[in-house]
Amino acid sequence: MDLARKSVGIVHVHDPRVHWSVRAAQVMRIAAAAAEWHAPTVDMLAMIGAPATPRNTALRVVIVREASGRDIALLAAGPIDVADVDPSDVLPLPAALAASAPYISAIVVARDGSLSLLLEPSTVTFAEDTVLGEELCPSRS
């Protein structure tokens, strides 16, 4: 690793559907259980085509803050860890796939060689007052 380069903090979610990540700098907090989080939540993987998170899956909520100051609560199904990765291990999607994956900016190569999708919560937009993924929040079920 080039020590002259600043590492990138990444929050990894080992979601059984597909491993995903967000930049640690965006993360405000991680709630222990979705059931204890009373605001709307977003299942980003479901938004981009993965199966919805099963209701009986142990969930946490990763709250990220985008540049506008809006907080988005992401459902996280699976263990979470935080790691520093070299910037060279954050690889933008190839052009052939990037256009069809607006919520995914890159893949992250972990030290063990495993891969995760780097999600961009700031690309999430809400139609008027409808909150996407709200129906997936166990606290409202």
Binding site: V18, I48, G49, S88, L91, A95, A99, S100, L117
Partner: protein, 129 residues
């Protein structure tokens, strides 16, 4: 036409939920992310890829500005075929089929993976907003 840049071992890749069966995911190769192609999905034969593992070998193909990883079961040896050795394809008539040739007594399909992959790129989506 796609050019073989490298033949490697098993591939680690990750599925993209937005991807197509033909280009189901992404892998890291030489410091960048490249698309992974699933020939089984394209040809409609054989076992489909399942992330995170690929197959025993991986072909890395250059097609224009794009590089693609194509997991395969076996790589035998490079063969030099002249145009006269390739006859019109009768096995399949897909656009990616350049023809067929006799290799070690077997009729072998000759494909242009560049054509194949161009045809299977995902359509640009506006995203579920």
């Amino acid at each position: 036409m796609a050019v073989v840049r490298e033949i490697g071992g098993p591939l680690t890749w990750i599925a993209l939920p937005t991807a197509t069966p033909a280009l189901p995911g992404v892998a890291a190769w030489r410091g960048r992310a490249i698309a992974v192609a699933d020939l089984a999905a394209v040809l409609g034969a054989g076992e489909r890829l399942a992330s995170p593992t690929g197959r025993v070998r991986t072909l890395y193909l250059q097609h224009g500005a794009s590089t693609l990883a194509v997991p395969v079961d076996t790589v035998r040896e490079p063969l030099a075929l002249s145009d006269d050795d390739i006859r019109p394809a009768r096995i399949r008539t897909d656009a990616f089929c350049m023809g067929e040739a006799d290799v070690e007594g077997h009729t072998t399909l000759v494909v242009d993976l560049g054509v194949l992959l161009e045809g299977y790129r995902p359509a640009v989506a506006s995203g579920p907003r």
